[in-house]
């Protein structure tokens, strides 16, 4: 990519190539305008995000109950997590299952839907984008699923299955450990199409129309060819954005499971790492331990992010 100078140089000074620092300083001065433009964002970002996050790192090494001053206990939290805490291991297993099922599926699904909607005419584009984004705008939309999966015979799913004779007695969808995982995965998939989907819609909308015209002239036959030869390569950055959202969404699942099956759920069948952190953070007020849990999750997400970026960069520009 060509180097973009942001300010026209008035007096070209000889660049001191001898010293790396002098050269860096030269670049800094030349891009002065950039730094000024980024200043408002990064000032606020530092104060309200970076500083609190960095300050919360050391909490993982302490015992902190929100009342007394944090007490330094070294790596004991991490030791307890992996050695003594059986539930944490269950939570890790559940989180990985959720992440593997919901992450890629919701990613592919939101991409496909965004693509299909893009094939519609302008009115239906707005209409369907609205329809598929609606759950994200409805507060606690997934509560509806409680009615569907309700454990008594009045639950919509139960009553339909009983009427059809598939079930002989009402199934406890939300408390029977054999169904819970599947039910929560389905609902999770349904709710996870929010921000990523909308960002992908914007990505599709942002593709240069002349590319398609050129494609038609070059002899592209059908939609699929167009998708793979023009659309996907042109959408790399949006795909990456949606991927990052999908990763963070997939690994921080917990809200849906907690509100459908309760916290903690029966036998911890849908207990995730995030639920575990909430359990310690906002129920037992063991903030040190909760921070340690979040740290572990963060490291796992960073690794996955790295892997997925490597894979995606092969297919896009």
């Amino acid at each position: 990519m060509a180097k973009v100078k942001t300010e026209t140089e008035k007096k070209p000074k000889p660049i001191n190539t001898q010293s790396k620092w002098a050269y860096t300083w030269h670049l800094v001065k030349r891009n002065q305008a950039c730094y000024w433009m980024m200043l408002p964002f990064f000032a606020l970002f530092t104060i309200f995000t970076v500083v609190p996050v960095v300050m919360s790192f050391p909490l993982g090494l302490t015992s902190f109950n929100l009342v007394q001053f944090p007490k330094f206990i070294g790596l004991q939290n991490f030791y307890s997590l992996f050695v003594n805490d059986d539930i944490f291991l269950i939570a890790i297993k559940n989180t990985l299952i959720f992440a593997i099922f919901t992450g890629p599926f919701s990613y592919v699904l939101s991409f496909l839907l965004a693509w299909l909607i893009n094939e519609m005419n302008p009115f239906f584009k707005v209409f369907f984008t609205f329809v598929f984004y609606a759950p994200s705008m409805t507060p606690s939309a997934f509560v509806i699923w409680q009615l569907v999966f309700s454990g008594d015979s009045y639950g919509y799913l139960n009553s339909v299955l009983l009427d059809l004779g598939i079930l002989t007695q009402a199934a406890q969808w939300l408390t029977d450990t054999t169904y819970m995982m599947t039910v929560v995965i389905i609902v999770q998939l349904w709710t996870s199409m929010g921000a990523g989907f909308l960002a992908l819609r914007a990505g599709f909308q942002g593709i240069d129309a002349s590319l398609y015209e050129a494609g038609a002239i070059e002899g592209i036959q059908n939609r699929f060819q167009e998708l793979f030869t023009i659309t996907i390569p042109a959408m790399g950055p949006s795909l990456l954005f949606a991927a990052v959202l999908a990763i963070s969404g997939a690994f921080t699942v917990g809200g849906v499971g907690a509100s459908l099956c309760g916290l903690p759920s029966t036998n911890y069948a849908v207990h995730t790492v995030m639920n575990h952190a909430q359990d310690y953070g906002s129920i037992r007020y063991e903030m040190g331990y909760a921070s340690a849990i979040c740290m572990v999750l963060f490291v796992v997400m960073l690794i996955f992010n790295k892997l997925i970026r490597n894979v995606l960069s092969k297919y896009t520009d």
Binding site: T6, M38, F42, E119, V126, A216, P237, F241, A290
Partner: protein, 299 residues
């Protein structure tokens, strides 16, 4: 002269040409896609539909179990009750509305401005620190912790922001998600327009706002939808405790917290709160859909 005969008429080369629609694709395919989307759409629109019909149900229908999916005798009772309760508050109801509207507008405007400026630099300029800052944003997107809010509170308390509008506004202005969205979209812009702007003597700021941003309508619309929704739902919580500064969602949840006796009001307040984001969504999206993007390069 011989070279400038008659240019090939591109309009005629096209098999089909329709505004804002793809060139490739058959009518049968369109119909199949429509049916598929419509079927899936029913599942997605269902909770919205359900909240709306619940808010129009009279008290006698609200507690029928299993809940009916339609209203037998629709009534505006829940809404009138909501506003009756809202009229008897300690602080005039209009104060909460003003707070929410004010905060939402300020956050949205600042957010879009700040993120666009920063995203332009992070995507199109190469300066020392470029890689570090980009990495920082992605890393911040992945970080979730249940403990961060404590430290955020500590920071704001140290700066004396607690119980002011600042506490509601400033933390929501600079989010890594908004920035990353804009950064990713701007990075698809052709470098040649930026070079052209530079040759014409535009500085970084002018290039950003007069050349790049007008080409980023879909991304900006999405950004506005995200930030408006987030800003409208700002609850305040521990950050403001004075009644004068509380926002509409806070007071709505306080009204709804009165329990089962106000079941209808809960749905009515949810519907009332949903309206502004829905309106913004429709305005933003329909503005984008009119035109398909073009690179801004006219040959």
């Amino acid at each position: 002269m011989a070279r400038r005969k008659k240019p090939v008429n591109i309009e005629k080369v096209h098999v089909k040409k329709s505004k804002g629609k793809h060139i490739n694709g058959s009518l049968a395919g369109d119909i199949c896609i429509f049916i598929l989307l419509a079927l899936l759409g029913i599942f997605m629109i269902f909770p919205l539909y359900y909240s709306i019909i619940q808010s129009f149900k009279p008290i006698s229908e609200l507690f029928v179990f299993p809940p009916k999916l339609y209203v037998v005798a629709p009534t505006g009772e829940n809404f009138s009750n909501l506003f009756k309760v809202a009229g008897n508050l300690w602080v005039p109801f209009s104060r909460y509305v003003f707070n929410s509207v004010f905060i939402t507008i300020v956050i949205t405007v600042l957010h879009v401005f700040v993120c666009c400026c920063c995203a332009y630099c992070l995507s199109k300029c190469r300066f020392p620190g470029y890689n570090f800052l980009n990495q920082l944003i992605v890393t911040a997107l992945l970080f979730t912790s249940t403990a961060t809010w404590i430290m955020q509170f500590v920071v704001m308390a140290k700066m004396g922001m607690i119980n002011t509008y600042w506490a509601l506004i400033l933390p929501n202005v600079a989010t890594s998600m908004g920035l990353y969205l804009m950064r990713q979209n701007m990075s698809t812009i052709n470098d040649s327009i930026i070079d052209a702007a530079k040759v014409d003597g535009a500085g970084a700021f002018r290039t950003c706002w007069q050349v790049v941003i007008p080409n980023q309508k879909p991304a900006i619309a999405t950004l506005i939808i995200f930030v408006f929704q987030a800003a409208w739902n700002v609850q305040g919580g521990a950050l403001v405790y004075e009644e004068d500064l509380k926002t509409l969602p806070t007071i709505m949840s306080q009204i709804a917290a009165a329990g089962i006796a106000r079941q209808g009001i809960i749905y009515a307040s949810a519907v009332v709160l949903m309206i502004p984001p829905l309106v913004i969504f429709l305005i933003a999206q329909s503005n984008v859909m009119e035109t398909m993007a073009n690179s801004g390069m006219k040959d």
